[in-house]
Symmetry: C2
Subunit: 225 residues, 2 copies
């Protein structure tokens, strides 16, 4: 299993040819989808000839895979960090959502084209499907634990996990990818929206929000490097 246990993708030099291929491909995947993007399109965007792509990646699907790793790996890693912290489940969940939203809005590549069922269903992406499932499990575990501790109302964890997913993804769609204008309030709004719906005692939200704000400030975005 590739994902989990502190695994992180190697950092990418975004100015290298390989990095520029990844950036351009992510934008095209987001705009036209994986199947709607040809290797010729990608090559043209990077200003190289189409066969030169295959020097950097063995196949088209390896470009896609690299992008999923870059997005998903750190996300799983962050969630593992939340588990190790001493904080309430509501705080963990709130910080996770806000952090994920900020990272996805700030990172240099466009993640909108990456989590399409139709693409991930391809045979090549078995380990990516596993990674996604792992991430979903992590989220569900927080929801479930929060419910058992009495912090959250009783709601199907799998439903909540999917709702969070939907909120996260739509926030990215709204921004129109990393190129779009950053809505700086979105990370906290998204986290508030979900946690407000889950909390038994809603008067705690203000304090939780404040804690997340402080932590987010400390944890500088890694992606801007």
């Amino acid at each position: 299993m590739k994902y989990g246990q502190g695994w992180e993708p190697k950092p990418v030099d975004w100015s290298s040819t390989r990095g520029r291929i990844l950036l351009a491909a992510s934008v095209l995947f987001a705009q036209r989808g994986y199947f709607g993007t040809s290797t010729r399109d990608i090559a043209e965007a990077v200003q190289i000839r189409q066969p030169s792509l295959f020097h950097h990646f063995q196949a088209k699907h390896e470009i896609f895979r690299a992008l999923v790793e870059l997005d998903l790996g750190p996300s799983i890693d962050r969630m593992n960090q939340r588990f190790e912290e001493q904080s309430s489940w509501a705080e963990k969940l709130h910080l996770s959502i806000a952090y994920d939203v900020r990272e996805i809005l700030v990172q240099p590549f466009d993640a909108r084209g990456l989590y399409q069922d139709a693409v991930l269903a391809l045979e090549h992406f078995e380990s990516e499907r596993q990674g996604i499932a792992l991430f979903h499990d992590q989220v569900e575990r927080v929801i479930e634990a929060g419910r058992q501790s009495g912090e959250f109302v009783a709601l199907d964890p799998s439903f909540v996990q999917r709702a969070i997913n939907g909120v996260l993804f739509e926030t990215l769609r709204e921004q129109g990818g990393p190129a779009g204008p950053m809505r700086h309030e979105r990370p906290l709004q998204a986290a508030d929206f979900v946690v407000r719906s889950l909390l038994v005692d809603q008067s705690r939200l203000a304090a939780i929000r404040a804690a997340t704000g402080t932590r987010l400030h400390q944890l500088e975005p890694a992606a801007s490097t």
Copy 2:
């Protein structure tokens, strides 16, 4: 403008060849995406030869367009009905969400492949994009009105509209299309999740939920015909 003003798509005889093409195509679009589905695939699923498709639809994108109309048209129409009713904004929103979730889970075709930005960006789908924008406007109007009346907390209507979208869509993904096992509690759960997060006075939720339950029972699913 095709959508709006009481417009509704013509009913489909799902046992006709045309209907079977629509059903099969919707499933394939959901599983492999629009670009990942060939007209050969569709024809094979319907047990006819590939060129015979073109007797029923002028082009591949006309099949897709017909499916979007079948899903989106009734949805817009239902929202218009909510506007004409005498009820609070919270009730309108709650009923809309629950109703939409139920319909999307119950209708015979699979809507999961229909709202992909990469596909809708194609030139052919201008009127579909307009229809989707119209629906989003309707939702935002309810959010905005509810906030002004003091029923809802202050949250960016466009953010909330997207969150609702995400929840709706993820609920469908969870079920795995119309073929999957229906979670009968999902319509009310989804509506609860959103409205709970929006309501200023959360003690109203139980009453709102009860009202939606009654109305939903009266409004039999149209799609099962």
